[in-house]
């Protein structure tokens, strides 16, 4: 079955900038829109981190670029740093940007199955971004009740003192969810139905699988929180009492709704990053992915299991203590499927011929750093140990050791790897490696001190530790300063990336079709792919990871090459 892409591709007339870049239904353009919005929000989230880390290292200092930090400022920055980095950076970049860009290209079709729904998804997302940013400029300022938004604090303006900020924050998050539901339906149905002829279930590249599974997990976990958001919004705006114990409501209900979504959400962003890493590792180790099917089915299992662990966030929140035993067991057991994925990624390196390109360095760093994030989760999953660690800097360091590899390292791996395909030019390798080491080394110097502070009992979301004699010792302050200075160094190195990114886009070495000798379909078309992706859509004859097949002259075997 040979499908020729529609004739209008070759000779489409000059479109205005608005039509071409802002009103486009082309999945590649929409992917870029998500990528650039996500990068912009990452700068804001990073700036927030800089501002509140400065306050922690040098309490009361007039912070350059911010000014004096007040307690409400501090809470608003911490809250929105978390919200932005998860909902406006990790999700739009890992799922939406790369999902949009990669899915049609990797499964060999010319667009998403619902291009206009796709455009609407980005527009709703953009609206949510604007609502969130607007919440900083309303009377009372931005919401400061943590990204978990526990009521009653988040429910009543008399408690949170942000009568506008809190509802706007909630509205922004709900709009963002709506955008991702639309995007998710597109990702799932496109992959289910529009694969290239011959592409069977086990021929789908891991990264596509992972984005689709992430979308399914998201779709099935976000519902209760969506309902909860409506209830919380009514509490804030109309004055209902869903979460007000004085009126028959229950504040802990929100925590269940939030974490029933919140824990699967970890896997929603983890899986795409894992998929990106797997694809990059196979290419640069020139290896077949170790145990594709095992990993695929364990990932299904991990997705299901991720719905059974949520209450480990609430061990000490006043739930029935007998429940803790069940959730301890489920939480410890979910380490098993994740271990499978990580072990198989490491096993893939065995017997390889590893090239340490910039994307490969990022991919390896992902595994290296994520391992520490993963194993420190065991402390928190064990209910007894969690009594001590809950809401301490240990938790904070733990999830930054998972989310930083996911959202930042995973993103850099993907951007540096697919940059030639996205923009038709190569990034500079030397600058790429400088940026890599300048990011990864300071990252560890930020969060290892915070692990130590957490072990020493330092609790979270405190804007000035000098009021706590046990935590105000000079040794503690030294570690805080170390973390802050490392953060500033790390942020400074991001300018190397920004320079490399934009300069390479204009002046980089022109990219050929398949610069890495990779197998997957996106490398069989031009860089960047034209509108419609291929002149003639490809068919698929084998799996995505047939590298170094014995008896072949080439060490790669593109998926679309007839045998």
């Amino acid at each position: 079955m040979a499908e020729s892409a529609h004739a209008t591709h070759g000779d489409h007339h000059e479109q205005s900038f608005f039509i071409k870049y802002l009103w486009s239904t082309d999945h590649k353009i929409i992917g870029m829109q998500y990528l650039f919005t996500g990068m912009f929000m990452a700068l804001i989230g990073g700036f927030f981190a800089y501002a509140f880390r400065m306050q922690l290292a040098f309490p009361g200092l007039d912070i350059p670029g911010w000014g004096t930090m007040t307690p409400p400022n501090y809470n608003a920055l911490v809250t929105n740093h978390g919200t932005i980095m998860i909902f406006w950076v990790a999700m739009p970049v890992l799922i939406a940007a790369f999902g949009n860009f990669l899915i049609p290209l990797m499964i060999g079709c010319d667009d998403m199955v619902f291009p206009r729904l796709n455009r609407l998804s980005y527009q709703v997302f953009l609206l949510s971004t604007l609502v969130l940013l607007a919440s900083f400029f309303v009377p009372g300022g931005a919401f400061g009740g943590a990204w978990t938004a526990y009521p009653p604090l988040s429910a009543q303006a008399t408690y949170n003192l942000t009568p506008w900020g809190a509802p706007l924050w909630l509205l922004a998050v709900a709009l963002e969810f709506a955008a991702f539901l639309m995007g998710g339906i597109n990702f799932i149905t496109t992959t289910m139905n529009s694969r290239a002829p011959g592409m069977k279930m086990h021929d789908i590249p891991m990264v596509v699988w992972m984005i689709v599974l992430a979308s399914i997990i998201f779709m099935l976990s976000v519902g209760p929180l969506f309902a909860g958001a409506i209830m919380l919004f009514f509490d804030q705006v109309l004055g209902t009492g869903f979460f007000d114990p004085a009126r028959g409501g229950d504040p802990v209900l929100w925590q269940h709704m939030f974490w029933f979504f919140g824990h699967p959400e970890v896997y929603v962003v983890l899986l795409p990053a894992m998929g990106i890493v797997i694809d990059i590792i196979t290419v640069f180790a020139r290896k077949k992915f170790f145990a594709y099917k095992v990993v695929l089915y364990t990932t299904f299992a991990a997705g299901v299991a991720s719905f059974t662990v949520w209450a480990h966030h609430q061990f000490i929140a006043g739930i029935d203590p007998r429940m803790a035993h069940i959730f301890t067991v489920t939480t410890l057991m979910i380490s098993v499927p994740i271990a499978v994925i990580v072990f198989c990624s490491i096993a893939t390196l065995y017997g390889g011929s590893i090239r340490f390109t910039t994307p490969m360095l990022w991919a390896l760093a992902f595994i290296f750093e994520f391992l520490l994030g993963g194993v420190t989760g065991i402390y928190l999953g064990a209910a007894g140990a969690d009594i001590y660690f809950h809401d301490s800097y240990f938790v904070l360091a733990h999830f930054h050791y998972t989310f930083f590899p996911i959202a930042i390292i995973g993103t850099f791996a993907a951007v540096t790897y697919w940059f030639p395909k996205m923009f038709g030019r190569h990034m500079n390798e030397t600058l790429g490696k400088i940026h890599f080491w300048g990011t990864v080394i300071p990252f560890n110097l930020i969060f290892i001190p915070l692990f130590i502070l957490g072990l020493a009992g330092q609790h979270r979301r405190i804007y000035n530790f000098s009021m706590y004699p046990d935590l105000a010792k000079p040794e503690f302050q030294d570690l805080r300063v170390l973390a802050t200075v490392s953060l500033i160094v790390m942020l400074a190195f991001q300018f190397v990336f920004l320079f490399n990114f934009f300069a390479s886009m204009i002046k980089g070495r022109k990219a050929e079709k398949n610069p890495y000798d990779a197998n997957t379909l996106e490398w069989t078309t031009e860089s960047p792919p034209p509108h419609g992706n291929w002149k003639e859509l490809p068919s698929v004859y084998r799996g995505p990871y047939e590298y170094s097949v014995p008896g072949r002259a080439d060490d790669f075997w593109p998926q679309n090459e007839p045998s």
Binding site: E3, V113, I188, M219, G228, L238, T240, F242
Partner: protein, 189 residues
């Protein structure tokens, strides 16, 4: 002009129907979360039955009947569309829309009376759930009616007949949600 992607069907199921099923799945968890919260609260607060006694079971029952009938006409519309009779399909969808509008009008009167009697969304958490759950459902009815109007308009011209089935699927879902809401909010006193 349509991308090739939109014409493929590796699963054998039309993409649009697949998408509607996923849409319904995501809606099921939204209503599921809301109703599960309501049920847990209701079990914990026996006193709410005093409030629930003020809901009008007969109006609720009438609306249930209206919605069920409208689902029947949606099925008949689907059948007509399958037979290629766009005009009849549009007519059947018209009846379904009429059912939806009737449902909303009855609901509006019902709520007006209740609010006049002082049962507002803030007067008690039972009423908060009552208005939130039924209100969210009513929004879905409204959205269904609007989309159905668009589908019916093109079906009348014998275009996009496959959409008659899709809006019907959605309408059945809206109907089923009400089948859960009616006993939970009206019958359980």
């Amino acid at each position: 002009m349509r991308p090739v992607a939109t014409t493929r069907s590796a699963t054998g199921m039309p993409t649009a129907r697949l998408a509607v099923w996923w849409l319904i799945a995501s809606e099921v968890v939204i209503f599921g979360g809301l109703l599960a919260s309501y049920i847990m609260h209701r079990l914990a607060h026996d006193a709410w039955s005093v409030q629930a006694a003020y809901t009008n079971t007969w109006i609720g029952a009438f609306n249930t009947l209206v919605l069920l009938t409208s689902s029947l006409t949606a099925v008949l519309g689907h059948k007509a569309a399958d037979e290629g009779d766009g005009e009849r399909a549009a007519k059947m969808l018209g009846f379904t829309m009429l059912g939806g509008v009737t449902f909303l009008v009855v609901k509006a009167f019902e709520w007006t009376i209740e609010i006049q009697h002082g049962f507002t969304i803030t007067s008690n958490t039972f009423w908060s759930f009552y208005y939130s759950a039924a209100g969210l459902h009513a929004l879905h009815v409204l959205a269904g009616v609007v989309v159905m109007g668009i589908v019916a308009a093109s079906a009348r011209k014998n275009e996009e007949l496959h959409r008659v089935e899709l809006i019907g699927l959605y309408w059945h879902f809206v109907d089923i949600v009400w089948i859960f809401l009616f006993p939970l909010l009206y019958i359980a006193k």
